[in-house]
């Protein structure tokens, strides 16, 4: 937390609000109240529920560590963690280099690149549900793209083979978000001072050299921002997977969020579902903090003091 302390230029005469910062504190209150009610209270609630037994219909009863014991001894948990991690890692690995390169390319100022950027944005407009429905239809092994084109290679059992299904999820996520991250990188590249490149050119550095010695280091914080959005965002791939594969085939794409929904709202095990939810929060916090460490600065990891 680096805070910007205002330079005390002069002794303040209390204004109507009662002092230089006394008058503003109340402005944070509405947001705080909303967030407490629907963010913090549920967070405590989910913790409490993880020590309870509730089938979603009857009474909520305290159950001690039952839910924790049943979840932690269930092989489904490490599996869901693993799937979550695999989808997160793969989508990061796939999206980051592509977005970075495309972002650098888009940063040029020719008109056509602007139009590219316009078209690029369209996938972001589709809801995950719409996207999942579309790709489900496209990839239908019997009535989809492959049989329509008569290309047998496209007639894979895309959503019925575990590995392929994970691949499809990663691809659909990338299809939707690479454009978004490209735009973030485009913004980052445009903020790199021209002079740096000009100096490098005078020194005779080639394009590759320039990319690795100027562009990449200068984009450090952009990369961290984009990665944070990707990684924390990947914990929330619920809608997409829910509609696309429902966690299947078997449990090949059952990420934590889906595992929670299935246990809670379908199997009526709200206690164990809350345990999964607590784990989900811990994973999210851990990742966000870890990435912030990487950034090496407090809450201003986003602020490039350009």
């Amino acid at each position: 937390m680096t805070t910007v302390a205002p330079p005390p230029l002069r002794v303040d005469r209390p204004t109507s609000g009662g002092g230089r910062s006394g008058g503003v504190a109340w402005m944070a209150v509405p947001a705080l109240i909303m967030f407490l009610i629907f963010g913090v209270v549920p967070l405590l609630g989910v913790l409490a529920l993880s020590f309870a037994q509730w089938d979603g219909i009857g009474e909520i009863k305290p159950a001690g560590l039952d839910a924790w014991q049943s979840v932690l001894s269930d092989p489904g948990l490490p599996h869901a963690l693993w799937v979550t991690f695999v989808i997160m890692a793969l989508s990061w690995l796939f999206q980051t280099p592509l977005s970075l390169l495309i972002g650098v390319f888009l940063a040029g100022h020719e008109r056509y690149r602007e139009w590219l950027a316009v078209l690029y944005f369209i996938p972001l407009l589709l809801s995950s549900a719409a996207l999942a429905i579309t790709f489900k239809a496209l990839l239908d092994p019997n009535f989809g793209l492959g049989s329509g084109l008569g290309v047998d290679f496209l007639n894979q059992d895309w959503l019925g083979e575990s590995k392929l299904a994970v691949g499809v999820v990663v691809f659909v996520v990338s299809w939707q978000f690479i454009p978004f991250h490209s735009l973030i990188y485009q913004g980052g590249v445009r903020q790199i001072p021209r002079a740096m490149y000009e100096a490098a050119q005078i020194d005779g550095a080639g394009r590759m050299r320039q990319f690795f010695s100027i562009t990449l280091p200068q984009l450090k914080y952009t990369i961290i921002t984009s990665s944070t959005l990707m990684v924390v965002g990947s914990l929330t791939f619920f809608d997409l997977i829910f509609v696309l594969t429902a966690g299947g085939p078997g449990d090949a794409t059952r990420v934590l969020a889906l595992d929670m929904y299935q246990r809670g709202f379908m199997a009526g095990l709200m206690g164990p579902a809350s345990v999964i939810a607590v784990i989900l929060v811990l994973v999210g916090l851990g990742l966000a903090l870890g990435l912030r460490r990487l950034g090496g600065r407090g809450d201003e990891s986003q602020l490039e003091g350009a």
Partner: protein
């Protein structure tokens, strides 16, 4: 979301194609199928969308409302695949409708244990006429701990083996008379590039139907009964392993259409594979007959659809007449409703549910209602041949097993469906399936 099997529970004929769309639009799927006034004393009733059931349910409500201007029923139609979770969350939220549409069995039991539904035992005692007009077999899933908690209604839906006669003729094949025949047909059809069996595997309960029949044919009904009663290690009983091994052999031999795990039954894609001749056979509920007649062009009309009971397994204990599926659908009354609403609901059960008019509508739609009065109407139907077959199977079966996921508690059912999906994915084998399922007993 592969909520269990809703569409199979109610002869949903999901309308696919413009022809049916007109019918759908007509029956008000364009919004909630609300009918009846909204006065405070009126009872609420939720049911499922989809032709033909939605229209029939709505007509029944309308008829009742016409006769009872002072105590109306307000009906709302819900999309099938979301309903099961929805009704649970609504009951949990204390906003259950007066009349709760359901499948009986384990789901009903969880409502009973939470004190959410009315005990109707005495009411049936006082209204013997109502009880007597229904199939005996339909009361099983409505009975929890010896008491009746729901009114059996709508239709009986056994699972049967459908096949495409045209595909069979072209390839010189005969309908299977035993499990060995099935395995031979698998080899034959795979050789011809036709999928032996269509299957909407993403829905999970579709896979379960195979397991239900193999367990019954090999070990008899007592095999699953042990699970249902929660006996320790019930899944290890003799017969279970053999049934699972046979099923695994069928999966290994590519008995099911390529990509079956990504096909959902709710989309009726599995039926499309059968009537388009891409698959030769399909094990499915009798409600698919109506939708295949709707969507399959002239497939049903031209007599290309064949049907039979699941064949026996040589040396197995189960009676060949046995069947599995849904002995009926079930209407329960919310205990949270007001006294007037409960009265209205009971009046509705007595006067409107499975009245002659409703029974006729079900028969006309290609289904067999759970009322004894239906038998005389079947002959006059254009689908007489099929309906009589369904009626015979349902009434003559030595044992009519309720679908497993309906019989078990929601928690156990979810674990079962989950393991079945993994089994069909080959990520677990018979032994692992048995040990996993033994671990869920009593939950």
């Amino acid at each position: 979301m592969e909520l269990s099997s809703i569409s199979r529970r109610n002869f949903l004929n999901l309308a696919v194609g413009a022809g049916a769309a007109g019918a759908l639009a007509a029956c008000g799927s364009s919004g909630p199928g609300t009918s009846g006034g909204g006065s405070g004393a009126s009872a609420t009733y939720w049911y499922l969308t989809g032709a033909p059931g939605e229209q029939i349910r709505k007509d029944t409500v309308d008829r009742f409302n016409k006769d009872n201007s002072d105590s109306k029923i307000q009906g709302t139609a819900y999309q099938n695949d979301a309903y099961k979770t929805k009704i649970k969350t609504a009951i949990g939220a204390g906003q259950a409708p007066t009349i709760i549409w359901g499948w009986g069995g384990g789901g009903l039991k969880s409502y009973v244990e939470a004190g959410q539904v009315e005990d109707l035992t005495d009411w049936f005692g006082q209204n013997a006429a109502v009880k007597d007009k229904l199939f005996e077999t339909s009361f099983g899933p409505a009975t929890i701990n010896g008491k009746i908690y729901a009114m059996p209604a709508e239709t009986v839906a056994p699972i049967v083996l459908f096949y495409n006669k045209e595909v069979f003729q072209k390839n010189g094949a005969q309908p299977p008379q035993s499990w060995d025949d099935i395995m031979n047909l698998v080899t034959l059809f795979n050789g011809k590039g036709i999928a032996p069996f269509s299957l909407g595997g993403q829905s999970r309960w579709t896979n379960m139907m195979w397991m239900e029949f193999l367990f019954d044919r090999i070990g008899g009904p007592e095999l699953f009964q042990g699970v249902f009663e929660g006996k320790p290690n019930a899944w290890s009983a003799p017969g279970a392993k053999e049934a699972l091994t046979k099923l695994r052999q069928l999966i290994d031999a590519n008995g099911f259409v390529k990509g079956f795990s990504s096909i959902t039954a709710d989309s009726n894609a599995d039926q499309a594979l059968l009537y388009r001749g891409k698959a030769a056979m399909m094990l499915h509920g009798t409600w698919t007959y109506g939708s295949m007649a709707n969507d399959g062009g002239n497939f049903v009309k031209d007599g290309k659809l064949g049907w039979m009971n699941f064949p026996p397994v040589t040396g197995g204990k189960g009676d060949p007449s046995n069947t599995v599926g849904n002995p009926g659908q079930y209407y329960a009354i919310s205990s949270k409703a007001t006294a007037e609403q409960k009265e209205t609901a009971k009046k509705f059960f007595k006067d409107a549910v499975l009245s002659d008019a409703e029974v006729k509508e079900w028969v006309d739609s290609g289904a067999v209602p759970v009322a004894k009065s239906s038998q005389s109407m079947l002959a006059a139907s254009k689908d007489a041949e099929f309906l009589n077959f369904v009626y015979d199977i349902s009434t003559k079966a030595k044992n009519f097993g309720q679908s497993w996921d309906q019989a078990l508690s929601p928690t156990a059912a979810e674990a079962l469906l989950d393991n079945i999906a993994k089994f069909f994915q080959k990520s677990i084998g018979p032994d692992e399936f048995i040990s996993n399922m033994n671990g869920t007993i009593g939950k």
